[in-house]
Each structure stands twice: as C-alpha cells, then as structure tokens.
C-alpha cells in the first residue's frame, strides 16, 4: 500500500488557477471563486493522468475534491485499491 504524499503535485497543479493566492491544504477550493466550469474536468484528468488512477462514478462526492487534503486522500485510497487488485 502506498503512503506517498501527493500534495506537492496537487498544489502545483492547482497553483495555475489561483494566481498569487496561496491555497491552504484544507481550504475549500470551490469556495474560493477562482475556478470555472471546466475546472472539475481538468481536475479529474489531472489526478487520473498524474497518479495513474481512474475516477469512477462512486467517487463523485464533493468531499473527495474540495480540498488538497481530500484529493490526497482520494488518490491514496484509489492507488491502494489498485495495488491490492494487481497483487490479488
């Protein structure tokens, strides 16, 4: 099971949307007013491409996407499931 910290990559990706605003790890991304209607799609493509996971319908919960910490937890969980599936 992986316990890697994915937050640096997530923060680096999100920085492009936030200009000079420094996003805190527990700050609600959607409450900031910085993101547009394309953002969720970009975020999904990013986590899938960067971390080799597949976001599925059951993952579509706001609590999985609204902070850097939540995204890190989602990626950690999905990678752990993927690793378990591969070793089964």
């Amino acid at each position: 099971m992986t316990t890697a910290d994915h937050k640096p990559q997530i923060l680096a990706f999100l920085a492009q949307f936030f200009g000079e605003h420094r996003l805190a790890e527990d700050e609600d991304i959607f409450a900031t007013g910085f993101v547009n209607s394309l953002f969720v799609m970009q975020l999904v493509l990013f986590v899938e491409g960067e971390f080799g996971i597949t976001v599925e319908d059951e993952d579509l919960e706001i609590g999985n996407f609204n902070t850097v910490l939540a995204l890190d937890a989602l990626v950690t969980r999905k990678r752990a499931v993927g690793a378990a599936d591969r070793s089964a």
């Binding site: 990706f13 200009g19 209607s37 394309l38 969720v40 799609m41 493509l45 319908d57 579509l60 706001i62």
Partner: protein, 391 residues
C-alpha cells in the same frame, strides 16, 4: 489540397472511407433532408450498420472505440456533407460517452451495446426555455420515490429528440444538479417535434415535457451534485470537439463549392476566380479552414494523451472552426450571388447551418469569455513593467 499533418495510415484509410460514404450516401440527399426536416429511417439503419453510431462506444461494449483524431475525421467528413447527420454523431456520441465514463456497470451493460449498434439512439437534454449557455439556471426538478424518481420540467431544442430512445437529461434533485437516463417510453414524458428552425433542419429537434415523469432507481447517472460539473461537462466536451471538426468539414464544403462556381462563372468578361475580391474570399476560406483543421488535430492529439490541456485546446478549436465556418458560408453565398440564395446550390444551407454552430455546445461569446479567462491563467507569473505614464 486540404492541409493535413501526421495522420497515421489507419487514420488516412478511415478518412477516405468516411469521405466516400459522405459523397455517395449523404451529399446527394442532404438538401432534400433539409427541406423535409428529417432524416429517413433507412439512413439510420444504413448508418448504424456501418458502425458509425458506435464511434464513441468502447470496443468491449461493441463500439468502434475510435481514437480521438479518427472520431474527428468522421465528424469532418460528415460535416462536409450534412451538418444534421454530423449532429446525430454528436448527440448520440455525447450520450454514449457519458454512460461509458460515468455509468455504473449495470448502466454500461444495459445501454452501451444498444447505443453501439443503433438499436437505441441517444440524445442530450439539458437546454430549457430559461437555461441555455447559463446552465446553472437549470429548473427541471427530480424527487425520490420509493422505487425511483419523479421528474418535472421542460426541455427545448433537443437534437434528434424526435428519434431518440433514451435522453441524457438533467434536473435538480434536492436542489443539486443531477443527470438521469430517461427512456423514451417513461410514463409522463411527452415528446413534441420542433419545425422551422433556422439551420440543421434535418436534426429532428424536439421539445420534451416531463409531467410527474417516472423513472427507475437505476436512471440516476453519476452522483447528485455532479450532473453538470462532471456528467454534462464530459458530454459537452465531446460535443464541442465533434462540432469543431464538423465545422472544419462545413468550411471545406464552402470552399469547395466556391472554387467550383468561381471556376466556371464569368462576369465582366472574366471568370469569377480572376476577380481579386473573389480571390480574397477564397483565400480567407482556405486559410481559415486549414487553421481550424490544425487546431482540431491538436485538440485530438491532446485528447488521446488525456492531457488536461485538451479541454482548452478544444475550446480554441471550436471557437475558431465555428466562426470560420460562418464567415466561409457567408462568403460562399456572396461568391454565388443570387444563385447562392436559392435552393439550386447548397451554400444557403451551409450558411444557415453555420450560424447554428456558433450557438450550440458553447456560444461564440461563451467561448470568448472562457478563452480570455484561460489566457490570464496561462500568463507567466512575473512582474513586468506594463508601460504607461511614469513619473
């Protein structure tokens, strides 16, 4: 010659097949379908039998599983012949793609094989009388019942809504934007044809009325709250990509028609092609079409790579291709003069269809606002003197 770069041999072969099909099975009939405001059932059957309706369905469910550029080439060639047929690939593809991307295993197994073969036609029902570009104004509602959901509301301008067997439909469930798969035979759903539309007249538009419309529990697609941000966004992204490529074909058709007419028509003792002001219009069509094709190819390569940049690239492609198609169509009518205004030549159809392309899947103005916003995001974060008055 149409400018293309880096098509693989398989993509080039597919393009040639689509071009041949369009020339033989679409172009000769497109004006009649436009006048009759419908595509005949025999065409649906032929089209489905060739596998074209399965273009956006993964191979494991019986679809073609086309790579992004090949899917684009299909749209380009169909768009060259008939924007209504291309619209069928667009909306059916949007519904198929959304089910493949966000459907449960059960939904995928139930719908995708039927969508792949054309046994079921899919449509996209988001637009309402008060909600077009402003999708957040979505007013249709859903409420839970013991065995499923009840839907209420109105949908407008649903492309191929007259012919669809299932609608990817959006409503508010407990106030949250939510996607549903609504079968045509759902009790409480009424489908009314829309006629007399400006362009893509054969795309069999419909209005949908949902009056206590009952759907089963497994009609819910994705999760409540993600109907627009994930499900509709995924579908619209494919739709925008499809329309962009279709506009390349439409602009190419304008160029082809203008070249042929200007070659044989004479005024003031010379051929039209020798008039410099006509040459200006043809040069703009040729350049705009080539640039639009390159933007679409770039978007295609980025889609294939599943790059986050593919979304922005698709907006650029759709904006440029749709505005090029309209300008090209307007110039094509101008080149044809009075002949271009009647039914003898297809350029008046191209002009009506091209105007629709500037409105659907993100209006020109929405594209401009989004592209401008993204340009600010892409700006290097450095401090550079901006000029202006100094002390």
């Amino acid at each position: 010659m149409a400018i293309r770069v880096q098509l693989s041999p398989r993509q080039a072969e597919a393009r040639a097949e689509y071009e041949s099909f369009t020339r033989e099975a679409v172009v000769p009939y497109a004006d009649a379908w436009d006048r009759e405001e419908r595509i005949p059932e025999a065409f649906f059957k032929d089209f489905a039998a060739r596998g074209y309706l399965g273009a956006a369905v993964p191979p494991e469910y019986g679809g073609g599983g086309l790579d992004a550029v090949t899917f684009g080439l299909l749209n380009e060639e169909l768009g060259r012949g008939c924007s209504s047929v291309r619209s069928l690939v667009t909306v059916h593809g949007m519904a198929s793609y959304a089910v493949a991307r966000w459907g449960t295993r059960g939904q995928r197994e139930s719908w995708l094989p039927r969508l792949a073969t054309g046994e079921a036609i899919g449509a996209f029902a988001l637009t309402e009388p008060g909600a077009g570009s402003d999708v957040k104004a979505l007013a249709a509602t859903a409420r839970r019942t013991g065995d499923g959901y009840r839907l209420d509301g109105e949908k407008r301008w649903t492309t191929f809504g007259q012919r669809a067997d299932v609608y990817l439909l959006f409503a508010r469930l407990d106030g949250r934007e939510t996607a549903f798969l609504v079968p045509r035979d759902a009790p409480g759903l009424t489908v009314r044809p829309v006629t007399g539309i400006l362009g893509t007249r054969a795309s069999m538009l419909a209005e949908l009325s949902l009056d206590d419309c009952r759907v089963a529990e497994d009609a819910l697609l994705g999760r409540p709250g993600f109907g627009l941000a994930a499900v509709a966004a995924t579908a619209l992204e494919l739709g925008r990509y499809s329309v962009a490529w279709g506009c390349v074909g439409l602009a190419q058709a304008c160029l082809d028609a203008s070249l042929a007419y200007a070659e044989r028509r004479e005024t003031f003792g010379v051929r039209l092609r020798d008039h410099q002001l006509v040459q200006r219009m043809i040069a703009d069509m040729a350049t705009g079409t080539a640039a639009a094709r390159l933007l679409c190819q770039q978007a295609g390569w980025l889609r294939q790579a599943r790059s986050t940049e593919s979304l922005h690239a698709t907006w650029l492609a759709k904006y440029h291709a749709s505005t090029t198609a309209f300008r090209s169509a307007s110039d094509a009518v101008q080149v044809h003069g009075a002949h271009g205004c009647g039914g003898e030549y297809p350029v008046q159809r191209y002009l009506r269809d091209a105007k629709v392309m500037e409105i659907i899947e993100g209006s020109t103005e929405l594209q401009q606002a989004t592209i401008a916003e993204s340009a600010y995001h892409a700006r290097p974060q450095t401090t550079v003197p901006t000029g202006g008055p100094t002390a």
